[in-house]
Symmetry: C2
């Protein structure tokens, strides 16, 4: 049993300028905090979420079974990111569908639900909004910013957008940009959603329908690419549907193209169905696009070393050997670019079988590395008070 947490939300009456040139005004951010902010206000850790996660990072909601946060194995009292020592903040990103302002909300300027008209948001926009939340909470500097996958991109972007506010960045199973193959998978998922007749040009809410067919396909693709081939073979292999129907053994083929024949098919359909029940289609488009766009090297002629020159934080990077969506090679690109800038960087390449999903799972070596890194951060906090990082010169 984990600890009890309560979601909160913060209103922002101002205007947030976005990368696209558009802006959002009067927006809300949903967030949660765990642990206590110390007197020096120096022990805050911001956790950024990936595609389908939220501000509910750790703990459980009172009276709700199985409501553990998505990184509850990593964050909490006595856990690798120890909330007895750190004040941890989880925040739902703009455009998401879990409480922060998103496509299903009313645009205050038009009085109409945003739908597909919600402005395209980038990793940089999210980081700006997160910085506004920290301002509102009275937190100037972060002991650490951390995230996995798309969350790791946000952590990396923090060190570039607000170098003076970040002491450490923990970037897990991430990349300095998506590859063509990654963009391609995102595009297929988006096309499945957009071409679903129930999408209605992104204004399906007012038609009382949901483009579930498209969301199912998108999620099925996701489930395949977040796992390794080996893990899928181990979990499902070529086993037939016996487990599905609960019978002891189904050893004969059904010889059908549309019925479930293999267990892997049942797994994918189940997860696709579940996802289509709760996830917003416009949010899926927005978040995959934010992934596509992230590329800090772009403004520096493709030179990642030049792009990361402004980062002053210390870094921990973690990758997983079987992650073919965000491969270790991509993390090593970041490590190299940081070393080229003489930055302090630790890197752990974990030999785990789970593919990209490994960043969410328990692995003794992975957890051990993160625990040790945060113990080091804790000792720095003990040694130095007041502990706010000095402002870097522009």
């Amino acid at each position: 049993m984990s600890f009890i947490v309560t979601p909160q939300s913060m209103q922002f009456p101002g205007v947030l300028a976005l990368s696209s040139g558009a802006s959002i005004s009067n927006y809300t951010l949903a967030y949660e905090t765990y642990g206590e902010l110390n007197a020096e206000r120096s022990n805050a850790v911001l956790v950024c979420h990936a595609l389908n996660a939220s501000h509910h990072v750790a703990g459980v909601y009172a009276g709700q079974e199985k409501s553990e946060g998505w990184w509850d194995n990593m964050i909490g009292p006595g856990k690798p990111v120890d909330t007895n020592r750190f004040f941890v903040i989880g925040v739902n990103n703009l455009g998401s569908c879990f409480g922060s302002t998103g496509p299903m909300h009313v645009n205050p300027e038009t009085g109409r639900v945003y739908g597909a008209d919600f402005p395209v948001v980038t990793v940089e926009d999210w980081v700006n909004a997160q910085a506004g939340l920290l301002d509102a909470l009275g937190i100037d500097g972060l002991a650490a910013v951390m995230g996995g996958s798309l969350g790791g991109m946000q952590a990396l972007s923090w060190t570039l957008q607000f170098p003076e506010r970040v002491r450490h960045a923990v970037v897990v199973a991430s990349a300095p940009s998506l590859t063509a193959q990654n963009i391609a998978f995102n595009e297929v998922a988006r096309r499945a959603i957009v071409t679903d007749p129930d999408f209605n040009g992104g204004h399906f809410y007012e038609h009382g329908v949901v483009p579930k067919r498209g969301l199912r396909i998108a999620r099925m693709i996701g489930h395949i690419t977040y796992q390794s081939d080996d893990l899928m073979n181990e979990k499902f292999g070529r086993a037939l549907r016996s487990a599905v129907e609960g019978s002891a053994a189904n050893t004969d083929f059904l010889y059908s193209t549309q019925e479930v024949e293999f267990q892997i098919e049942s797994y994918l359909r189940y997860n696709g169905d579940k996802f289509s029940e709760y996830f917003d289609a416009n949010t899926y488009l927005l978040i995959t696009r934010a992934l596509d766009y992230f590329d800090p090297a772009r403004a520096h002629g493709g030179e990642l070393g030049a792009a990361l020159a402004g980062a002053t934080a210390q870094f921990l990077l973690v990758s997983f050997t079987t992650d073919w969506r965000f491969s270790p090679a991509r993390s090593r690109e970041i490590v190299k670019a940081l070393l080229d800038n003489r930055r302090n960087v630790s890197y752990a390449e974990i030999d785990a079988p789970h593919g990209h999903d490994a960043f969410l799972l328990d692995d003794v070596r992975y957890m051990g590395v993160v625990r040790s890194y945060f113990e080091r951060i804790g000792k720095e906090l003990d040694a130095a008070a007041p502990a706010l990082p000095r402002r870097a010169k522009a």
Copy 2:
């Protein structure tokens, strides 16, 4: 300019029993032949096709530009499989949509178009039908049977179903069965087609529509998985849509989730659209299912060595290092199982960047290996006449 060829077709008035227990009667097979059958009728080479290919393996159709067969670089006068020496046969499989009896044809027993009621066909069923064509052509033994991917599965199955009729099997970029990940990708593609409202339960012909949305998604997934990540990065990388619109440079993002932003998106959409114009949705379901089902080890407790014990042919296997859909490891499983049975097997693992698609492309080493292997077969034909392989004892 390649040589001129003419497609042919053969009617089979009898009944073909299928693996599923169903049967097809009064069916047609479309086929082509290249070169001349020798007096001993010993120089025939059967070429089996993969997912979206056909009997049009080599040559061009008179008056049709860009009508080269799908393996025209491999097969023809003076090519690795030299039609000056070999009599090559290409055949369109049952259930396909290029001339052989398939879902868009009328079921003679009901007078109604088959649609989704076309019986599920397996690799073994196709091989049985191909054997019937050889009977009709008066060809007892094959100098070689060859194919890539799903075509390689048919070549392998020939050596098990008709060992006495096959002297050599050339199995390229293939596998002894699909992995869970492979089945998963097939299942996503099938779900995209089946859940397209225009699919109409597989009887869309009578509604005058085509489930193009689903076919597009299926093809997009295929294009991603048939290429390597590296090749996609080399061909498209993160380049923007400039090439699409023909303008010199588009260096700014559009900040849109639905418009084409990256060149890889344009490539996928174009190929998805093109495919949906000519490929039959029910055929896609059938052929991916045949892929899923193929697993000769299944009847032998999962022991591939036991499954291949009955094969008496000599083998050439070829795999490609960057093929992550039919990886070299899967070809090596076949090589090992054949060696365990003391069979004569040659194996070439080609270091090519193109992923699974490499089996269709020119690569000097790949073409060289196949050429040498067929020169060896040719020398055997020269040395031994009559050259029919002896019948293996049951």
